[in-house]
């Protein structure tokens, strides 16, 4: 019971004392504690119990709380005694006792542990002390030994000093003597060298002592030697320079001379570089000339060399081409390569170049260790000059090769073997010329050039046939007056085209795709690319071909020469285009597919993977316009469906192109009709406008010349068109039907006469016919035999315009499209032309005024047309209504009412035309 009180009691007075205000010692102590606390990081946590000041702030003083700083045991005891029952108090007492015992135990453990640590620390310190004492002694020993070594070494050195000095001296004297000897002997040596022509040796000697002489030239002895040497060397350098610029020096001599000059240091290196370049270029040009001359003279060697690309022996022309290119490469290109190499060695990259030239030891030897030091700007300039030289030479080279491989005028003479062999050889040769590859990227350029050349050939092949096509038409133009068999011409031309494309060009193109050509292996391009090129060439060929046909016949407004070919050419080309669409395109494309395009992707995988959908076939052609996919209906069912995926694709394209061709045929036919219309309407227009219809004599004595010429033209057109375009069945064909037409006409007239007037009697009563021909637009629906004019109301009005009847007529008539696309049949063409003619007639009659003579002339012309134009116009209703309109209008525009021309006269005059 009292123990807790005692255990708690002692701090209380301390606490109280500590807390005494004004106690300086306490304040100092507190400060020290705070420092320690902050050092150990105890901080505020433990502060509650250990630092009363702080605890006071945190906790209110409570004398009853056993853990409080203001705990008062007395009060606490009293409180417990008052509040608690006896058993509780006993329990409380027990609890406190156990707690105190526990605290005691803890304290003892802590004290023991501390003691233990203290003991071990003492032990450690003691052992340290003994160890260190030992070490000090050993160190002293070591230092003594070192001093001894030092002394010994110094002694030896001192002893040997003398000897060494002597040796050095002797050595240098010897050297000097040697040098002097050399120097004194130099002039004679140089002389000797020069006499022997060993300039390089001379230069080497001189270079060895040049600096020495330079340094000692103030001494009289040397001065003389120097001067002597310099004169010799000047002579040498002059000689060398002459050699450099000499016309006869070979490239290697030039290279050597440059090396010497560099060593002599006589000329600034940059200038020398320029001189070297110029001299070499000059030399190269000469070499090229001689090469070319030689190549030209080069005759076929007799030995038959087998191609390494194909097993078969090479044909003579290929061998010749090969010989030429080999010669050219061996001489010109190799020399050029050497020049580039030594130039690089002298001015750009010494070591690498020297190491790189094992095959030309002479040059390598000459230039070893010769390398001019140029400033970086100079080096850039020198390099730039070299690159541009290489560029220009490469360009020249390519030009030469192109010349060698010129595309022949006759494509069939084109030798793909030659192309491939030459290009291949060229590629191999260039590939082996390291310097050229490094500096000029010549290999890349040659590669690109080869491919370009190939596509040029492909284009040329196709352009050739196009040119030939138009050329043949030019012949037609020249001979168009004679009766050419148009159909045969077109058919022959077409089969010629097909034949040439398949049997001549295809084998040629096929050879380009030979798989073991060297440059294709090395190039980024492959067989597929060549095939693509051919395919594209073919596509562009078709499209540009159709486009050219259109522009040929319908020159654009900005064209310089706007005179188109005669219309019949347009007609024939239209048929040609149609023939293309009717199988030629597909035939050619399928042949090409079988032979070429099906090979595509062979290298990649055996099974052709389905390709991505082909882009819409719109090809931008040379003129800049796009040709859209033509009519879908242009497909022809005769072609058997292809098998493989690739060919399927090509055939789809072939159908597209066929469609475009058909659209072109249609367009050309429309142009043909337009051009006919222009010509014919112009004749009518001039005829109608220049004739004074009010002052013509009565009755007319002849047919109008304009109309007979138009009928002639129509007959001609009919003949032309009939050869090329078939009838669609329902039309009247040929001259045999002309009788029919005539009979028909008679029949319609008989109808008139059946209503009372015989034909022979028509002269006695001309007015009966008036109503037949003039009333068409007035009193009855239009159309021949449509009820018979004479049976209708007679007489009344005599040509007075009645708008109501006119409107009713027109209401039933269909609206006619005079201009516009024309169907591709003979009937459609002729109908279109004839109705434009008639409509033109109508329009012009409406602005003319007539006298009786004028009217009768018009009547005569109308009858002429009724007889002879009828067969050309399938639209009978329109035909008659237009002619009736002409006659009605002429009648109405004639003052006074004219008498009709007698049919006897008409018939006899009309029959004069045939």
């Amino acid at each position: 019971m009292p123990s807790p009180a005692t255990s708690q009691n002692p701090p209380s007075p301390d606490l109280a004392a500590d807390a005494q205000p004004g106690s300086r010692a306490a304040a100092r102590q507190q400060k020290r504690r705070d420092l320690l606390k902050s050092y150990y990081g105890i901080g505020e946590r433990g502060g509650g119990t250990t630092t009363p000041k702080k605890a006071a702030k945190d906790k209110l003083p409570d004398p009853l709380d056993i853990d409080n700083h203001a705990f008062n045991a007395e009060l606490h005891l009293n409180k417990l005694l008052n509040e608690m029952s006896l058993p509780d108090l006993i329990q409380r007492d027990n609890f406190l006792i156990t707690e105190i015992k526990q605290l005691d135990g803890d304290m003892k453990t802590l004290v023991y542990e501390n003691y233990n640590k203290f003991i071990s620390a003492t032990d450690t310190i003691r052992s340290m002390k003994t160890n260190v004492e030992n070490m000090e002694a050993e160190m002293d020993l070591l230092s003594q030994s070192m001093t001894k070594f030092n002394e010994a070494s110094g002694a030896i050195n001192r002893d040997l000093m003398e000897e060494r000095k002597k040796l050095n001296q002797l050595n240098s004297v010897d050297n000097l003597l040697k040098k002097l000897h050399f120097v004194f002997e130099l002039p004679s040596r140089l002389h000797e060298c020069v006499d022997k022509g060993q300039y390089s040796q001379a230069v080497r000697y001189y270079a060895r002592v040049a600096s020495l002489l330079d340094r000692y030239q103030h001494m009289a002895v040397f001065k003389k030697i120097t001067e002597e040497c310099r004169t010799i060397i000047d002579g040498v350098s002059k000689l060398v320079k002459d050699k450099l610029h000499g016309n006869t020096s070979s490239l290697s001599e030039i290279a050597e001379s440059v090396g010497l000059l560099l060593r002599l240091n006589a000329t600034p290196p940059a200038d020398l570089a320029r001189e070297y370049r110029e001299a070499a270029c000059f030399r190269l040009a000469k070499i090229k000339q001689t090469c070319l001359a030689h190549m030209h003279d080069l005759q076929l060697t007799q030995q038959v060399s087998a191609s390494d690309l194909t097993e078969e022996p090479l044909p003579p022309d290929v061998r010749l081409a090969m010989d030429r290119i080999i010669y050219f490469d061996d001489h010109y290109v190799r020399d050029f390569s050497e020049f580039v190499e030594s130039y690089t060695g002298y001015f750009l990259q010494p070591n690498e170049a020297a190491a790189m030239s094992p095959e030309s030891p002479k040059i390598a030897e000459a230039k070893v260790n010769v390398f001019s030091k140029l400033s970086s700007e100079q080096q850039v300039a020198v390099r730039g000059e070299l690159v541009s030289t290489v560029d220009s030479v490469t360009k020249q080279y390519i030009e030469e090769v192109e010349k060698l491989l010129q595309i022949p005028e006759d494509i069939t003479k084109l030798s793909p073997l030659a192309y491939i062999h030459v290009l291949d050889r060229m590629h191999k040769d260039v590939q082996s010329m390291e310097p050229l590859k490094r500096i000029g990227r010549m290999d890349k350029r040659v590669n690109a050039m080869s491919f370009e050349l190939l596509s040029k050939v492909v284009t040329a092949v196709f352009a050739k046939i196009k040119k030939e096509f138009f050329n043949r038409y030019k012949d037609v133009t020249a001979a168009s007056s004679e009766a050419t068999d148009l159909n045969r011409f077109v058919k022959e031309l077409n089969s010629w085209m097909k034949n040439t494309l398949i049997n001549q060009y295809l084998p040629i193109l096929e050879r380009f795709v030979s798989p073991n050509i060297d440059f294709m292996k090395h190039s980024v391009f492959g067989t597929d690319d060549i095939l693509d090129q051919i395919q594209r060439g073919l596509d562009v060929f078709w499209l540009s071909f159709t486009e050219d046909m259109v522009t040929h016949n319908d020159p654009p407004r900005e064209a310089v020469d706007r005179t188109p070919p005669p219309p019949v050419v347009t007609l024939m080309m239209s048929r040609s285009a149609l023939d293309l669409s009717l199988g030629t395109v597909e035939g050619v494309m399928s042949a090409y597919t079988d032979v070429l395009f099906s090979r595509k992707g062979d290298g990649e995988s055996a099974v052709p993977t389905p390709r991505v959908a082909r882009p819409q076939l719109t090809v931008v052609t040379a003129s800049g316009g796009t040709v859209a996919t033509g009519m879908g209906s242009g497909r022809v069912g005769t072609h058997t469906p292809p098998v493989s995926g690739t060919s399927n694709e090509t055939m789809l394209r072939a159908r597209d192109i066929s469609g475009i061709c058909k659209a072109t045929a249609q367009r050309l036919l429309t142009i043909y009709v337009e051009r006919l219309n222009v010509g014919l309407t112009q004749i009518i227009q001039i005829h109608m406008e220049t004739t004074d219809w009010e002052r013509l004599p009565e009755p007319p004595t002849a047919l109008s010349e304009a109309w007979t010429s138009i009928l002639d033209a129509m007959a001609h057109v009919d003949r032309d068109v009939a050869q090329l375009y078939q009838d669609d069945g329902g039309a009247r064909a040929g001259g045999g039907d002309r009788l029919n037409a005539r009979g028909r006409d008679l029949a319609s007239r008989t109808k008139v006469s059946s209503s009372g007037h015989s034909r022979t009697g028509s002269s006695s009563n001309p007015s009966s016919h008036i109503h037949h021909s003039s009333s068409g637009n007035f009193r009855q629906p239009v159309g021949v035999g449509g009820g018979g004019g004479a049976t209708g109301k007679p007489g009344g009005g005599g040509g007075k315009f009645d708008p109501m009847w006119s409107n009713i007529d027109k209401l039933f008539a269909e609206r006619v499209e005079y201009h516009g696309p024309v169907e591709m049949t003979r009937t459609a063409v002729l109908t279109s032309v004839s109705r434009v003619i008639l409509k033109c007639f109508v329009e012009l009659v409406r602005v003319a005024a007539f006298n009786a003579g004028g009217f009768q002339q018009t009547q005569l012309d109308v009858e002429l047309l009724k007889t002879h134009l009828w067969q050309h116009c399938s639209d009978e209703r329109l035909f008659n209504s237009l002619l009736d309109e002409v006659l009605t209008c002429a009648f109405r525009r004639c003052l006074p009412d004219p008498p009709y021309l007698d049919y006897g006269i008409i018939d006899s005059l009309v029959s004069t035309y045939n």
Binding site: E558, T681, E689, K800, F801, P803, R815, E817, L895
Partner: protein
């Protein structure tokens, strides 16, 4: 207001129609009949937009009328070109006894008369008069140009004298090998420059230096039928021809037409720019069609719209306008293309003209004597003005 327009039938065939230029209030047109044998009529027709009604005033005219040239300012003065049998066509300036009209302006469908003021006779050099053009630049209106087949002639009009005096005769020769004559002419509204269609070519004739053409288009059409100056951009001319094409040319650069329209299937007989909204363009031909074209891309409106569209983003006001425009017309700006085709005619249409009073009204006449008055479709009109 309806956009259907209306139709009026004449008793005769007709091929000429012109707007009464002096009338600024009502949409009125002169129509001349063409009947070689019977007495003809000059019709003044009035179109009432509110009631969509045509009323007329008939004036007897002895000979067939080939062309009409209304006075540019005086509504009662009009020149007709007509042909007597066996005589070359000639022209007369008439003065109308002013027609009666009711309170709203409609005509009374009556018959009136007119008196001849000045006769314009063809001379030796000018064999026939095919058309008369008023000088558009002078405000005195005392000068007209007569078009013949192979010459143009300037006449001074003096109402005190019975016949006009030819002051200048300009021979016009075809530049192609054919002997086709002058088929049409149009007077530049801002200069003394006449555009003529001669055969296949268009020749610009400067009245001050008539000996050499100011410009020429050698092969404008197979045969040029009609020509019109853009009244707002006089460097633009439109031509129509027997190839069924309408071509627009910039007279400063004539290598290529600046636009080409081929909506007609036969000859184009008349072309006409709207006098106020030159993006509206009228053409008619012997395919019985009257086509209203929008040619905004080459009109003066194209230049204007460039300016407005560039400033559109700047102020809120214009943004408001844009939205309100959308509200009215549904879609935005007008574009090039055929606006509408009139199907009122069953025969060749030889004349189509814009009303002088209302830029949204036009009339056309076909050979069978049918006159049709039409309006620009309402939605297109809103596209233009909003």
């Amino acid at each position: 207001m309806d956009t259907e327009g209306s139709v009026y039938g004449l008793d005769h065939q007709a091929r000429c129609l012109k707007a009464q230029l002096g009338e600024g209030e009502r949409s009125r047109f002169f129509v001349g009949t063409q009947d070689f044998k019977h007495p003809n009529e000059l019709h003044l027709i009035d179109y009432d937009e509110d009631e969509s009604l045509i009323t007329t005033h008939k004036i007897p005219h002895e000979f067939e009328i080939r062309s009409i040239a209304p006075h540019p300012a005086q509504s009662e003065s009009v020149i007709t070109v007509f042909k007597e049998p066996l005589k070359a066509p000639k022209a007369t300036l008439w003065r109308l006894a002013s027609p009666e009209s009711d309170a709203t302006g409609k005509l009374r469908n009556d018959t009136g008369n007119m008196e001849a003021v000045v006769h314009i006779e063809p001379s030796d050099h000018l064999a026939a008069i095919d058309d008369i053009l008023w000088d558009p630049s002078s405000s005195k209106y005392n000068r007209v140009l007569a078009r013949g087949k192979h010459a143009l002639a300037l006449f001074a009009l003096d109402e005190a004298k019975a016949s006009a005096i030819a002051t200048t005769v300009i021979p016009v020769k075809s530049i192609d090998s054919t002997s086709r004559g002058v088929a049409c002419a149009s007077w530049n509204p801002h200069a003394d420059l006449i555009a003529t269609g001669v055969g296949a070519a268009v020749l610009g004739i400067d009245l001050r230096t008539p000996t050499r053409p100011a410009y020429e288009i050698p092969a404008a059409h197979t045969s040029v039928r009609c020509i019109d100056y853009n009244p707002i951009k006089p460097q633009t001319i439109a031509t129509g021809g027997t190839d069924g094409f309408i071509r627009f040319w910039d007279t400063r650069s004539l290598v290529q037409p600046i636009k080409e329209v081929s909506d007609h299937t036969h000859w184009v007989w008349t072309v006409s720019f709207n006098r106020i909204y030159d993006q509206l363009f009228l053409s008619a031909g012997s395919d019985c069609r009257v086509n209203l074209q929008s040619i905004i891309s080459i009109s003066s409106a194209a230049a204007l719209s460039d300016i407005t569209s560039s400033s559109d983003n700047e102020d809120a006001y214009s943004a408001d306008r844009t939205s309100s425009r959308d509200e009215f017309s549904g879609n935005s700006k007008p574009t090039d293309g055929l606006v509408c085709t009139s199907d009122h005619h069953e025969d060749s249409v030889y004349a189509a003209e814009w009303s002088a009073a209302d830029p949204w009204i036009y009339a056309s006449v076909s050979y069978d004597g049918r006159v049709a008055v039409n309006l620009v479709p309402r939605d297109h009109k809103y596209k233009i003005i909003l």
